[in-house]
């Protein structure tokens, strides 16, 4: 299970980094989104992977060792909200840049051929 999750995070992060380095603003925003998915998974994994851990065990209520670590889940929720908001903001700037400069290149002008 660790290997699958690690591979998934790696694939997402790798694609994200590659896309961020591309010259078109749309590629950059997709890259940032993929990268933030990778990071969110990473935060969850940092709370240790456990299969079949109950939300609330019927008999062992009150024993914290029985539960999945709730803190990374709280962190990841915050991170999702924040990265969603900032990505939306970036989308607006991207459109403004497209409108003002007439190109979707990240430098605001087409490179010399």
């Amino acid at each position: 299970m660790e290997a699958i999750v690690a591979l998934g995070i790696g694939a997402l992060a790798g694609s994200g980094v590659w896309l961020i380095l591309r010259p078109r603003t749309f590629q950059v925003i997709i890259g940032l989104s993929l990268l933030s998915y990778a990071i969110n998974l990473f935060i969850i994994v940092m709370g240790r992977l456990r299969t079949g851990a109950p939300i609330l065990a019927s008999r062992a209520a009150g024993d914290p060792s029985q539960y999945a670590d709730p803190l990374p889940q709280a962190l990841v929720l915050t991170a999702i909200v924040i990265s969603f908001a900032t990505t939306a903001l970036f989308l607006v700037v991207l459109l403004a840049s497209r409108g003002l400069t007439g190109t979707d290149h990240v430098d605001g002008r087409e490179p010399e051929p």
Binding site: S36, I39, I43, M46, G47, T78, T86, S97, L100, V106
Partner: protein
């Protein structure tokens, strides 16, 4: 302390939050009311910061005032901690912000939507980042600050700002993701996010986990150093700062210092003497990176074609000096660096404001302003009547202020830049032990002197071009509320010079408590549950 005084620690966060939210209700109307709220709130922050500063300075052992949100016991609570360094940074931020907001009232606050609200939210994020004692809470305040700064960087609009803003946002979004990686790695290893608790746990980390912890800290530091503009993470900075509107750029001068502040706090807290095998982890990177940043910034100032870029590269020099001095890891040098940080930030803020006044003779932003005036309506026609002081005196005042900024930034006597560099280098050349002067100290000495020379050359050239060499230029029309803030920032630098003794003592006490973080850890972890901090929940 009792009653309302206990809640003073959270006031620098709550006040701008409330002020910013209230101003949102006005929409595009009520500009005068919004301006009044903004100025009132910012001046309120100055008062709060002064109160916090005097209360921390008064306690002889520099005890950190700890505020537990929701009154949870400490390792679980999100804590706000106001110690000497936090109080100092709060005061610096609020002074700079007060100058910028008064300056903006002349005309810049009309150049775009929601300037006043965004400004208050930026202050909230900054103050929160300075006060928080929790890593994840720090992330939240950082994002608040950045989200507001994205809006402010685009304030005034125009292709140049949008292009610079695009880069700024991408770079900072990527850095925020690195921040999260760092925080979660540290949490995964240590199981805590409370800075004080973390400092207490680090010596006991198992050797096989230590690599992971250090990797986490390094990733985290990358995010902060990017904010601080350390070479080679600084290429976004000059363009963004030069493109931002002047009052915004003046406040942004403190944003690089947020990065430096957090590196200083966390590095000395987590990797101080007590950290066992991890002690002084990464100190060399800070030192070398800082020196490289100073060199890059100095070359940048020499190469700058216009005043805004010159000011932006001076930000790099200032930030690099602070980072390099921190990397020395000596109490005296840190104290000098703090003194330098205060004086250079004030002077840079003044310079960013001044640059616009000087450049106004050429009116590069005139078309932008004309467009926004059309878009938002110019209902303040009565302003036009009071425009302009007597004409020849204007250039004289501007020139005098420019010389003041140049003196502080280059570190020449008689202003505070000289005192700061002198204190810094004296401490670096007289190390505490009998080890003799290290190579690092000599390198710091050489590069600081050379960067000072570069600053003198660049500022002289720019000053001559602006004030002497263009006979046919129009004399800029400058209003008193634009010149006032610049003058006040420079007067603060002068006061810092006159009161150098007491200020330096405060910096020494601050550096002392930073280098012996045990008292900070004890103050935070042993904060008594029950007595205070009952009301406010997490924001």
């Amino acid at each position: 302390m009792s009653g309302i005084a206990d809640h003073l620690v959270i006031a620098p966060i709550v006040l701008p939050l409330v002020a910013g939210a209230v101003m949102l209700l006005f929409g595009e109307r009520g500009r005068t009311a919004k301006a009044a709220i903004n100025v009132g709130s910012t001046l309120g922050l100055v008062a709060i910061a002064v109160a916090l500063l005097t209360s921390t300075a008064a306690s002889s052992d520099g005890a950190a005032a700890t505020y537990r949100l929701g009154d949870w016991p400490v390792p679980f609570a999100i804590v706000l901690v106001a110690d000497r360094l936090s109080a100092l940074m709060l005061l610096l931020t609020s002074l700079l912000a007060a100058a910028a907001v008064v300056f903006s009232l002349a005309r810049w606050h009309r150049a775009g939507a929601h300037f006043h609200s965004l400004f208050q939210f930026l202050l909230m994020g900054l103050n929160g980042a300075f006060l928080t004692g929790d890593l994840f809470n720090l992330f939240v305040f950082f994002e608040l600050m950045l989200a507001a700064s994205y809006g402010l960087a685009l304030h005034g609009s125009g292709p140049v700002r949008v292009r610079a803003g695009l880069h700024y946002i991408v770079v900072n979004l990527a850095a925020s993701l690195l921040f999260l990686v760092g925080v979660s790695l540290i949490y995964g290893v240590s199981g805590t996010l409370n800075m004080a608790d973390l400092a207490a746990r680090i010596p006991g980390i198992a050797p096989q986990s230590r690599g992971l912890l250090e990797a986490g800290a390094a990733v985290l530091a990358t995010a902060f150093l990017l904010k601080a503009g350390m070479w080679p993470l600084c290429f976004w900075l000059p363009t963004t700062y030069a493109a931002a509107s002047p009052p915004v750029a003046a406040v942004f001068a403190i944003m690089t210092k947020v990065g430096a502040y957090i590196v200083l706090r966390l590095w000395l807290l987590l990797f101080g003497e007590a950290a066992g095998a991890s002690a002084h982890f990464g100190g060399d990177v800070l030192l070398l990176g800082g020196l490289a940043t100073v060199a890059f910034g100095a070359i940048g100032t020499l190469a700058s074609q216009d005043l805004p870029r010159l000011a932006a590269h001076s930000v790099l020099v200032s930030s690099g000096t602070v980072l390099a001095a921190m990397g020395m890891g000596e109490t005296g040098v840190t104290a000098g660096a703090l003194f330098y940080m205060v004086s250079s930030t004030l002077a840079l803020g003044a310079l960013f404001l001044l640059v616009e006044l000087v450049e106004r003779g050429r009116e590069p932003g005139a078309d932008v302003l004309a467009v926004t005036r059309e878009a938002y309506g110019d209902d303040d026609l009565e302003d036009e009547e009071e425009v302009g002081l007597a004409i020849p005196a204007t250039m004289g005042m501007l020139g005098l202020a420019f010389i003041g900024c140049a003196l502080v930034i280059a570190g020449l006597p008689p202003l505070s830049g000289f005192v700061a560099k002198f204190a810094l280098l004296t401490a670096a050349l007289n190390p505490a032990g009998s080890a003799g002067v290290s190579t690092a100290s000599w390198a710091l000495l050489a590069i600081l002197i050379v960067s000072g020379l570069a600053a003198v050359v660049a500022m002289t050239r720019a000053g001559m071009r602006s004030f002497w060499a263009s006979p046919d230029r129009a004399v800029p029309r400058v209003r008193l509320i634009e010149m006032g803030p610049v003058a006040i920032l420079l007067i603060l630098c002068a006061l810092q010079t006159i009161q150098a003794g007491p200020v330096m003592r405060y910096m020494h006490a601050t550096a002392q408590s930073l280098h012996t973080p045990q008292s900070y850890v004890r103050d935070v972890l042993q904060a008594e549950p029950g007595a205070e901090a009952r009301r406010a929940g997490p924001t």
